[in-house]
Symmetry: C2
Subunit: 109 residues, 2 copies
């Protein structure tokens, strides 16, 4: 993974995952492959699982264990009220930063 992308993901990856969880609960392995299909080709598996542990401990998601036909039980994550709130703040922060940066890009040319 590019070093730049790695650093840029800090602070945004959590929001990305929260956004992925809106409307549709999902489990770790699913989220990882989903991210890869959506272009985040080289996101490390361990990164996603660590992030999920974090947002669980922050109380942003509810967790339910469901048996799988193909392997060990899945941990299914659902966005709860606090998670929605956090996601909302994420969009606010993102909008501000994104706005500032796009302005810089315009001025640049």
């Amino acid at each position: 993974m590019g070093k730049q992308m790695t650093e840029m993901l800090k602070g945004t990856l959590e929001g990305i995952v929260l956004a992925l969880l809106t409307g549709k609960a999902a489990y770790g392995y699913e989220i990882t492959t989903s991210l890869r299909e959506q272009g985040f080709a080289e996101i490390a598996e361990g990164t996603v699982y660590a992030l999920l542990v974090r947002i669980e401990q922050k109380g942003l998601v509810d967790v339910e264990k469901r048996p799988s036909e193909k392997g060990p039980p899945r941990k299914v994550y659902t966005l709860n009220a606090q998670g929605h709130k956090e996601l909302n703040e994420f969009w606010n922060t993102w909008s501000f930063l994104s706005g500032r940066i796009e302005e810089l890009r315009k001025e640049g040319k």
Copy 2:
């Protein structure tokens, strides 16, 4: 500063500063106040200086010391060829990430 913003700045602040330097050389104190005027209200002074040391060591900028009428000599930073290259990569990385995230926002509603 919001925790989210702090984390989100990782990986983008360097690009922001590089962008600020395009076309116009500047020194640390100037960059800090400039950032604050542009809405990054609570950026820590030390953060900017540390970042400047970093991009200097990476060879992205040329440095020239100029005396100041009002205090210790200023270190004026100018974007060099490698800096422009890095900035270009920054815009690519940013475009990709920004595009992905905006798509997530659309899908979210």
